[in-house]
């Protein structure tokens, strides 16, 4: 750990001991959320999410392609995430880091397990389906990329239009039909600091955290989870966090659906 992280970490822990957070939030409170849909007109769908000072942009492209062997009558979905070097002094250029791959896979699992995108509607004809690509671009880092990225990916998909397909050609200028979305998944990420649990950790809080848990849910079921960092949770704590994630779902869903 670098010296600066140790200073931040001890500051956060001192505050926490007094029951406080840097920005005076409650332990179960998200930072201010702002979703701006359709920021990239060239993409089939897009959305920018500001979660406090964390800013991510998700773009969706639809390409003609082949189905997977085991699902010949369904489209495909591919998720990627890039921790852009302009988002933080810590991020470097080069091949995808383990952190960016974990981020993409966790966001992907929630959306896939929640059956959010109607995959059969992406079938065109035999051996021809739409391949859906969702790219999450992290533009500024201040903690909790998981929830910001889940929101951005989900909001971009909700706002995605399918190009027209005529005589073997993709007409991207003609995009009227909406991508069929069957379910909306949101996530809530928690950080454990000195035995206490905080929702939506910012960058400083993440550097003080010993353990992290992301819970993705559609309000009815828990759809995906990912525990991170070296620490641990009790099963009671996991119960509480799952409960909290489900409680927060409606509030987050409203942000995704507002256009």
């Amino acid at each position: 750990m670098e010296a600066i992280d140790m200073v931040k970490s001890s500051y956060i822990r001192e505050l926490f001991a007094k029951g406080l957070r840097e920005d005076m939030r409650k332990s179960s409170e998200f930072r201010k959320i702002k979703i701006t849909p359709n920021v990239i007109e060239n993409a089939e769908g897009s959305a920018q999410v500001d979660l406090g000072a964390t800013r991510v942009l998700a773009g969706v492209k639809l390409d003609l392609g082949e189905p997977m062997e085991d699902t010949p009558e369904e489209g495909t979905l591919a998720m990627s995430a890039e921790l852009l070097p302009l988002a933080s002094a810590e991020y470097e250029t080069g091949p995808p880091s383990p952190e960016s791959i974990e981020l993409a896979r966790v966001v992907d699992r929630g959306i896939r397990a929640g059956k959010c995108v109607n995959m059969p509607s992406l079938f065109i004809e035999k051996d021809k389906v739409w391949n859906v690509y969702v790219d999450v671009y992290v533009l500024n880092f201040d903690g909790n990329l998981f929830d910001a990225s889940e929101l951005a990916a989900m909001a971009a998909l909700v706002n995605t239009k399918v190009p027209e397909y005529e005589d073997g050609k993709v007409l991207r200028e003609k995009r009227v039909k909406e991508l069929k979305i069957d379910n909306i998944v949101t996530s809530a990420t928690f950080a454990k600091i000195d035995g206490g649990i905080l929702l939506d950790p910012d960058g400083n809080e993440e550097s003080a955290a010993t353990t992290r848990l992301t819970v993705a849910t559609d309000g009815k079921f828990v759809r995906a989870m990912q525990k991170g960092l070296g620490g641990n949770f009790t099963t009671n704590e996991v119960d509480e966090m799952a409960e909290m994630a489900m409680q927060k779902h409606d509030e987050l869903k409203k942000h995704i659906e507002s256009r």
Partner: protein, 248 residues
């Protein structure tokens, strides 16, 4: 360049398909200091292009063996988002084209940044093309200039860039994607407005000597507008800061 056989009529009655005159720029908007973590940044919209540029540094050089004890080094990354074009999903990360643009962009700024002020250190320039519609390298350089200035890095000048192309017998300023695809020539330039020195020059196609001369004159004329928008973006940041302190 796409085949000329199916080229649409790019110029009709002296106007271009998007209604512009031959020597008219697309609408250009720049906002400085838009990213919280970066030392300097700028967001630029130029026609349908959307570009984010950020600067980190001067900072400790990594890897250390690259450090130059006499001056700062500049690193530059230009990359296009995989969702940035109206075409298919692009591949992530810089390809050969992006690597070349990163190199020539770095060389532009090596000319104007006061590198001797920060020996041994490194300045990182990151240019992300979020949406592309022709002329993205010019847009990237124009944005990166503002990002460097907003980072407080001393420069000899505030560089701008623009592209000049040719369709048939006409020279056109600031090509969009469609014009870029079907034009006979394309020439992006980066210029230092203080002395009109050329800092980036690339070209392919066909220009007579006379056309080349006229094209460069067109770039300089457009530069007056671009420079003003760059400076206004920077002034706006300081105005906002001043207002904030006056109101407190």
């Amino acid at each position: 360049m796409a085949s000329k056989a199916n080229r649409p009529e790019l110029i009709v009655h002296g106007k271009r398909l998007d209604g512009r005159a031959l020597d008219e720029l697309r609408p250009l908007k720049i906002e400085a200091s838009v990213l919280k973590n970066a030392d300097g940044s700028a967001y630029l919209e130029w026609g349908r292009n959307k570009v984010l540029a950020a600067v980190y540094g001067p900072m400790e050089t990594q890897p250390k063996h690259m450090a130059d004890p006499t001056r700062a080094i500049i690193k530059c990354r230009y990359a296009m988002a995989p969702f940035s074009s109206l075409e298919e999903h692009g591949r992530t990360g810089p390809n050969r084209r992006a690597t070349e643009i990163s190199k020539v962009t770095r060389e532009v700024f090596e000319n104007v940044v006061m590198l001797n002020e920060f020996p041994g250190s490194m300045i990182n320039i990151f240019i992300e093309i979020l949406q592309s519609d022709g002329g993205t390298r010019a847009a990237g350089i124009t944005a990166a200039s503002v990002a460097l200035a907003s980072a407080g890095i001393h420069m000899r000048d505030l560089v701008y860039a623009v592209s000049i192309g040719k369709v048939g017998e006409h020279l056109i300023l600031d090509l969009n994607m469609l014009e870029d695809n079907y034009s006979d020539s394309d020439m992006p330039m980066a210029i230092s407005p203080r002395n009109d020195n050329v800092l980036l020059l690339q070209m392919d196609g066909e220009y007579t000597k006379e056309e080349l001369h006229k094209a460069m004159e067109m770039a300089k004329e457009a530069g007056k507008t671009i420079s003003k928008i760059q400076k206004d973006a920077l002034k706006h940041v300081y105005k906002k800061v001043a207002e904030k302190y006056e109101s407190e």
